[in-house]
Each structure stands twice: as structure tokens, then as C-alpha cells.
């Protein structure tokens, strides 16, 4: 009997909290809402040390925090969420730690594919961004499977940056642009030869030049617009090789809370700051 009463009280309280949160988001929605939020999930290990949790438990706590934030973003109307899950630089860590993070990733990716997961509940489309060839075979296959399985969802898009650094992304975009340009020119020249025509050196010369659009098209992050806010937890004020190209006009916010401690209030504060500077940013974007 008591258990039933407790369950009922718990459910009522939960509903009340959800109602208040939705009311808060309604109020926030009077102003502009960011379309794309990016997060650097910093401070998981410090959190585990702070609360004396075991090795790897900090990342699990971080994952729970991520799921809550995804839910809030969905309710708020944010369309794109990008997270910096694992950098290429992180491969320098102790092999045991890298392995435990990879195991956690694999477990969570497989969890995403289950029926009752948050991905299906909220219609999340998942992209894995980065140099996925650096990942182990099992993880890479799991990411491909997850991307395929969620390709029909369109309510909110989650971009998980794994084996990613911005410099690697730019180098890759440069390589792809060069390759594409070369193939383009070769096929034009072949066509020219076949038709015994004379395109003219000047016209061909124009095609040699790589343009901004070529680079942007070949970026791993080309599937999403530039982020509006970049949030890095734990108070560090560095980009750490994350989205360097895409954050040139993005608002930067760095709360002191460690990642597992980041919650609704930090999100609301970030959105309020964004709304304060948004008008100015929009004017600049339109003029560019």
C-alpha cells in the first residue's frame, strides 16, 4: 500500500516538474531558439574522482547527463545537437582507458538501436562524425548500423564526433576537394578530346581553383549548419581542436560545472545569453 502511494507521489511530482519545464521552455520560445548546440563533454573523470566512483563511472554519469540534455533540447525545439565524444588526441591516453571508453560507446550505440531507446522515442537521427577508420572494426560497424537504422528519423539530429579533430577534418576536406577537382578536370579534358573541341586554357584554369564551397561540402560536419552555441563544461576555455572552422561566429559558453553536473539551468542560461546577442549575430550573418 505504502509503495503504491510512494509511486503515485513520485509520478505526480515527476509530472509537475515536466509541466514546469515545458512552461519555462514556452517562455523561452518567445525569443529566438538556437538551431544547433554543440557540447564539449569535459570533466567526466574529474567527476568520478570527486565522488570516488570507479574507473569509467564518470563517463557513464556523463552519458546520463547527455540523455537528459537531449530531452531538454528536443522539448525546447533545438534541431541539431553535436557532442565531442572522442578526439583523435584521446587515443594518447592509457590503452585501458581508451578501451573502456570504446566499450562504453559500443554498449550505448547498441542500446540506441533498441526499440525503447530515447532515439526512437524522440525520433533522433544519429550521425557519427570523424575519421571512423581509426576506430576498431566492431565500433565502426556499430556506428554504420546506427546511422542506417536512424536515417528515417528527422525530429532532432544528434552528431556524435568520434575520432574527430577539426584539423583532421579540414585536411580531409582539402584532400577530397583536390581529388574531386582532379577527376573533374580529367573528365572535362577527356570529353574535350573526344569531341575534338577546344575548351580554352582560361576556362579550364578557372576550374583548377578550389572554392570555399568545395571545402565546406567535403567537411564531415557538412550535414549540419554551423552551431549557434558551443558549451564546454568544467570551466576550461579552449576549443581543443573541436569545430574550429564552424565556430567562427558562434557564442562560446563555459560553465564551471563538470559535465555530469551540467543540467537544465546551464542550458537555460546559455539560451538566454544567445537571445541577448542573437539580433547582432543575425545582422552580421545576413551581411556576409
Amino acid at each position: 500500500m505504502d509503495n503504491k502511494k510512494e509511486n503515485l507521489a513520485g509520478r505526480l511530482f515527476g509530472s509537475f516538474i515536466r509541466y514546469m519545464r515545458r512552461f519555462l521552455f514556452r517562455v523561452l520560445s518567445v525569443g529566438p531558439i538556437p538551431n544547433h548546440l554543440a557540447f564539449i563533454l569535459d570533466g567526466n573523470r574529474r567527476y568520478a574522482r570527486k565522488w570516488d566512483l570507479g574507473e569509467g563511472m564518470g563517463h557513464r554519469a556523463g552519458f546520463l547527463s547527455l540523455m537528459s540534455l537531449m530531452k531538454y533540447c528536443y522539448e525546447l525545439g533545438v534541431k541539431y545537437v553535436t557532442i565531442y565524444a572522442f578526439s583523435i588526441d584521446n587515443f594518447k591516453r592509457r590503452p585501458e582507458e581508451v578501451q573502456s571508453v570504446m566499450d562504453l560507446m559500443l554498449e550505448k550505440i547498441e542500446g540506441l538501436l533498441k526499440e525503447e531507446s530515447i532515439v526512437n522515442q524522440y525520433g533522433v537521427r544519429v550521425y557519427f562524425i570523424g575519421n571512423l577508420n581509426l576506430l576498431s572494426e566492431t565500433v565502426r560497424l556499430a556506428t554504420e548500423k546506427a546511422m542506417k537504422a536512424t536515417s528515417n528519423n528527422d525530429k532532432i539530429i544528434l552528431l556524435v564526433c568520434m575520432a574527430y579533430t577539426s584539423t583532421d577534418e579540414i585536411v580531409h576536406a582539402a584532400q577530397e576537394s583536390c581529388n574531386n577537382k582532379r577527376h573533374e578536370i580529367q573528365s572535362v579534358m577527356k570529353m574535350n578530346d573526344a569531341q575534338n573541341g577546344d575548351i580554352g586554357k582560361k576556362k579550364l584554369g578557372e576550374n583548377y581553383v578550389i572554392k570555399l564551397a568545395d571545402i565546406e561540402r567535403n567537411m564531415y560536419m557538412g550535414v549540419a549548419p554551423d552551431p549557434d552555441i558551443l558549451i564546454r563544461s568544467s570551466g576550461e576555455t579552449r576549443l581543443s581542436n573541436f569545430l574550429l572552422w564552424q565556430t567562427s561566429n558562434c557564442l562560446l559558453y563555459s560553465p564551471k560545472a563538470l559535465w555530469p553536473e551540467v543540467g537544465l539551468c546551464h542550458l537555460v542560461w546559455a539560451v538566454l545569453n544567445f537571445q541577448r546577442v542573437h539580433t547582432e549575430l543575425e545582422k552580421r550573418r545576413k551581411q556576409l
Partner: protein, 319 residues
């Protein structure tokens, strides 16, 4: 040295410099000219003080400068000063507007601050100082008033370079320019080249002016240069790597292209298309004060914040 330092209690740990929230000054951001609100315009002014508006912007001759070398304040560690500091000098026009003065006065005051920072960098043995003078994004602003202000700044830059070159030589400061100089007036381009050529052997401080600079364009031109090498058969696309690309960026004029510390004043929390590639691991420091108010104390705070950080480059500190 770094290991020893980790066991010392440093006085600056008593004031934890975290990410300061942007506190707006009394003016609404919309009243400030977006053209100049996020790039430094205050750096170069020149001419005699007679008209009460223009001042010499570069450090005065100081015959006792050698005695000050290396004398850092007690709050800072001499041996862990950043090698390369980058500055976005923001807030000059807002500073002038707050005082009911014309924008030119804001630039004048900003020039004082610039002079102070250059002096301090020479004194504290900072090797490279990059200042974001002018963004290429500014050219796209259509308003006539903005274009008039740009012309004004170009003119002042010309006068400064003509009058201050000798002082630069005396201070042993090397000047470089990054950015697309082709849109600048011809006389200014000539003067800049001359300044670069004359000061190229100076070694105390490398002062880099980012004029008409855009981080994205910098990366794009580096990619274009690589593409030309591919076209000419020198390299294959697969050979393109981050080291080759970095060598093609405009910051290849210095041995230390990547800033250790970026300071942006006036509380704006953005990079605004300044360095992008080069800021991969840079400590970002956002100061609430406007650029003309940025003095030695504020610079010490920024440097102290830099010295407190623990850079791991993605790895893990020993445990």
C-alpha cells in the same frame, strides 16, 4: 621545471580566473556599430598631438628598456609566459560612446592601450604578438559611414608607419602583416612592405598585424596552394597532412604560428573569424573591460589565467 612548479602554491591560484560572464555595459549592443564592435580598430593612429585627436601609437623610445627586460610582476611566473599572444582589440567605439565622445577618441584611447601591451610584451619576453586590426568581413558592410571609418583608419595606419619606423628599429620589433593586402590603398601596401623589409632582422618582439584577415580565407588559400602543388604533380592528395597545410597558412611568417593565449576584450564571447586553425589548443580569455581600459593589471590577469591552466592536449596528466 613544469613538475616542480606543480608542487608550488602560486599566489595567483588564490584568484581563480574562470570564464567571465559577459556583462553588458549600459549601451545596448544594437547602438554599437557592428562593423567595429568585434575587431580592433584602435591600433594605429599617428601624427602630432597638436590636434588633440591623434597620437603616436607605438611605444616611446626608452633608453632604459634593457634594464626592465625580464622583470615580471610577482603574480606571474617568468618561465611560463606564453610564447605567442593574440589579441582582439574590441570595444573602442563603445568606450567613446559611453563617454559621449566621437569614435576617433575611442581609437586614440585604444592606441594607448596597444602601446602599453606592446611595451609589456617586450618587457616580459613574449616572443610573438598578433593583433586583429581589421577583418575581411568588414568590407561587406554596406553602410557608407563604415566605409568612411575604414578609410580613416587606413590613412592613420599610413601615417603611423611613416613616422614610427625608426622607433620600431630601436625597440628591436619585427613587423609582419597577414591578411589580404590587395584591397588596401596602394601607398599603404608600399609602406607595409617597406616596414616588413626594414624590420625583418629584429628579434625582441614579432608584431603581426592581421589586416583584412579572415581565418576561413587563410585556410582556403592554404588548401588552394596545396591543390596547385597537386596539379603540378609535386604531391598527391593523400600526401596532404596538417603539417603541410600549416606551412601554407599566412602565419608561416613566424616560428610559433599558434597562439598560446587569445585575449578578447569587451566581453564578446566569440572568435569572429579571426584565427581558426591556429586556435586549436589556445587558451581563450575573454576580458570584460573595453580595449581602451585594458592595461597592465588586466594583462597580468589574462597571463595569470593562462599560467593556471593545465594543458593535456587530449592525453592525461600523470597519475
Amino acid at each position: 621545471m613544469a613538475a616542480m612548479q606543480s608542487f608550488q602554491i602560486h599566489p595567483s591560484t588564490l584568484k581563480h580566473q574562470r570564464f567571465p560572464h559577459a556583462t553588458r555595459n549600459k549601451l545596448s549592443p544594437n547602438t554599437c556599430c557592428p562593423l567595429f564592435s568585434f575587431v580592433s580598430k584602435a591600433t594605429i593612429l599617428s601624427g602630432p598631438r597638436g590636434n588633440g585627436v591623434l597620437v603616436n601609437c607605438l611605444p616611446p623610445v626608452d633608453n632604459h628598456a634593457d634594464e626592465d627586460l625580464g622583470s615580471v610582476p610577482p603574480d606571474l611566473w617568468k618561465d611560463s609566459m606564453p610564447i605567442h599572444v593574440a589579441v582582439i582589440m574590441d570595444g573602442n567605439r563603445r568606450w567613446a560612446q559611453m563617454r559621449g565622445l566621437p569614435s576617433v577618441s575611442g581609437y586614440e584611447a585604444g592606441a594607448h592601450a596597444f602601446r602599453t601591451v606592446v611595451d609589456l610584451c617586450c618587457k616580459w619576453r613574449i616572443t610573438v604578438l598578433t593583433v586583429f586590426v581589421f577583418s575581411s568581413d568588414n568590407w561587406t558592410r554596406p553602410k557608407v559611414q563604415h566605409l568612411v571609418e575604414i578609410d580613416f583608419i587606413m590613412e592613420l595606419l599610413e601615417r603611423a608607419l611613416r613616422d614610427e619606423l625608426q622607433q620600431l628599429m630601436r625597440k628591436n620589433v619585427r613587423v609582419s602583416l597577414i591578411g589580404d593586402s590587395t584591397r588596401l590603398p596602394k601607398p599603404l601596401q608600399v609602406l607595409l612592405r617597406e616596414a616588413e623589409e626594414t624590420t625583418k632582422n629584429n628579434s625582441q618582439l614579432h608584431l603581426i598585424f592581421a589586416l583584412n584577415y579572415s581565418g576561413q580565407n587563410d585556410i582556403l588559400q592554404a588548401c588552394q596552394n596545396m591543390a596547385l602543388k597537386v596539379k603540378d604533380g609535386h604531391i598527391e592528395p593523400e600526401d596532404i597532412n596538417k603539417f603541410l597545410l600549416e606551412k601554407e597558412l599566412e602565419t608561416n611568417c613566424t616560428e610559433f604560428p599558434n597562439p598560446d593565449l587569445l585575449i578578447r576584450t569587451s566581453g564578446e564571447l566569440r572568435i569572429s573569424n579571426f584565427f581558426l586553425w591556429q586556435l586549436a589548443y589556445t587558451k581563450l580569455y575573454f576580458a570584460n573591460s573595453l580595449w581602451p581600459d585594458f592595461g597592465e593589471d588586466e594583462f597580468v590577469e589574462a597571463l595569470s589565467s593562462f599560467q593556471q591552466r593545465q594543458r593535456r592536449y587530449g592525453g592525461r596528466s600523470g597519475s
